[in-house]
């Protein structure tokens, strides 16, 4: 138990002390939200105020970055540079390594989402009932799990220098096509069809559903898609981990 707590603590400290990680994950969503949510917050999207709508989608945008970069890139680097191996020769329970990174990614996700909530409340007059706000927060932060799994899958196949590029190539187009930058109903129908196959789409629809601004597909459908994606990515990551451990390559 003590190992788990210490592992989490130092994982969090490492992230805080790595500005290449902590700054973009926090600053990009807040800047985007400021421009599109606060300055143009009066317009409408999905039947609600733009400032409210974008709170859900930029929240999702921030969480995905915290998860994919925080989890995926750090594991790729530590694995590629032999640090994971140095830990594997100790009696450390291997689960503590991954649990700590998951908790760290969720803590960072919480920070990003809370900053956006604060901006929404004070700069854009977003007023969410308390229960809705808590549900939105919980939906956004728990979504980190799927994207941690995706990051981990990348980490076990990519090298330490290619992992950040691969994460970016997956993250940015997926986020755009799924309607995290610009509301999905403003995108062409062909793009919307592609979005159905992308986890960030289902994730943002779950968040939008909380504030009554989703496209009306069922919550179960989106939740199932998120769960299926998480399991698929986790299975790919596990396969990569096994390959490392058994050294068959």
């Amino acid at each position: 138990m003590k190992t788990y707590l210490l592992e989490i603590k130092y994982e969090f400290l490492k992230a805080l002390r790595t500005p290449q990680y902590s700054l973009p994950t926090i600053i990009f969503p807040t800047i985007f939200y400021y421009f599109f949510g606060v300055l143009y917050g009066g317009k409408k999207a999905g039947g609600v105020k733009m400032a409210e709508y974008l709170l859900a989608t930029y929240g999702a945008f921030g969480v995905i970055a915290a998860a994919m970069f925080g989890f995926g890139v750090t594991v790729a680097v530590e694995r590629g540079h032999g640090w994971l191996e140095a830990k594997r020769v100790t009696p450390m329970p291997i689960a503590s390594y991954f649990v700590a990174k998951l908790v760290m990614a969720m803590l960072f996700s919480s920070i990003v989402v809370l900053i956006l909530f604060t901006m929404g409340a004070f700069l854009a007059n977003v007023t969410l009932p308390f229960v809705k706000a808590v549900t939105l927060f919980a939906t956004l932060v728990s979504g980190a799990i799927t994207f941690c799994a995706l990051g981990l899958a990348v980490a076990f196949y990519a090298g330490p220098s290619s992992a950040p590029a691969i994460v970016n190539i997956l993250y940015l187009p997926m986020a755009f096509v799924s309607g995290l930058w610009v509301p999905i109903q403003f995108l062409p129908p062909a793009v919307r069809d592609i979005a159905q196959w992308l986890p960030p789409y289902h994730y943002s629809q779950l968040a939008l559903h909380v504030i009554g601004a989703s496209r009306g597909q069922s919550v179960a459908y989106h939740a199932f898609a998120m769960l299926a994606a998480a399991l698929l990515f986790a299975a790919i990551a596990f396969h990569g981990y096994r390959r490392d451990v058994s050294q068959v390559h």
Binding site: K2, T3, L6, E7, Y10, L13, K14, R17, T18, E78, H81, G82, W83, E85, A86, R88, V89, T90, P91, M92, P93, S246, Q247
Partner: protein, 234 residues
């Protein structure tokens, strides 16, 4: 048997068409400092990695204190310095030690680890702010955290200047004086001569010679001369 730190029996391991280990037999007894010598590709690192449970032998067996190297229980008794592990740079020396100590049931007190590895005064430094020699000392400190009975050092002084190398030798000797055992690989014959109670020469995945540094040296002027001669014969 259960007190014998390490036993390799008939260990083979191939990578594709390359046979890295071809029936390695080697026992490390309590209190011994065994230096594993050999050219690049002789199988030193593969031997170390099988011993640490990072690689599974194709055939043969490795036992650590009578147990399987892949068991967490067995690992509580060893500490290792791996050749290429890059320690996260943003954590402080003391933080790294704090975390590693938590992996072991009976860790050394933190101050003792810091002193034994010669890190006094550097506890608050981040790993990335240390010199190469100081970083190696952190690796050594992390290997010491669990108060291991066997230390495995894979080229612990490669890239260090003379002073740093000597300092590490001193720390290894102090550790051995407490009745512990060491397996180290090295390219420096002087290192083997200074530290080892037994030198084991590997060539093409097999032991081709072993003995005390004196025995290996025989009539040659230096251990290095004897070593070169050995490799030419084999």
């Amino acid at each position: 048997m259960f007190d014998t730190p390490a036993i390799f029996s008939g260990v083979t391991r191939r990578y594709g068409t390359v046979e890295a280990l071809r029936g390695l037999d080697l026992t490390i007894r309590r209190g011994e400092v065994v230096a594993l010598l050999g050219a690049n590709g002789a199988g030193k690192t593969t031997a170390v990695r099988t011993l640490l449970g990072l690689i599974k032998p194709d055939s043969g067996e490795v036992r650590l204190f009578g147990g399987d190297p892949r068991d967490a229980q067995t690992r509580t008794r060893i500490g290792a310095v791996l050749q290429h592990a890059r320690v996260p740079e943003t954590l402080r020396v003391r933080e790294h030690i704090h975390l590693f100590r938590s992996y072991y049931p009976n860790p050394l007190p933190i101050e003792e680890v810091i002193e034994a590895a010669g890190l006094t005064g550097l506890e608050r430094r981040k790993f990335g702010e240390l010199s190469g020699g100081q970083q190696k000392r952190v690796h050594f400190a992390l290997a010491l955290c669990g108060n291991p009975d066997l230390l495995v050092l894979d080229e612990p002084t490669t890239g260090l200047d003379v002073e740093a190398r000597r300092a590490l030798w001193k720390q290894v000797r102090a550790y051995v004086a407490r009745g512990k055992s060491v397996l180290l690989t090295t390219h420096y014959l002087a290192e083997a001569e200074a530290l080892a109670t037994r030198v084991v020469v590997l060539d093409k995945g097999r032991v081709v010679a072993q003995g005390t540094p004196q025995e290996i040296k025989g009539n040659a002027a230096t251990l290095e001369d004897a070593y070169i001669e050995l490799l030419e014969v084999s």
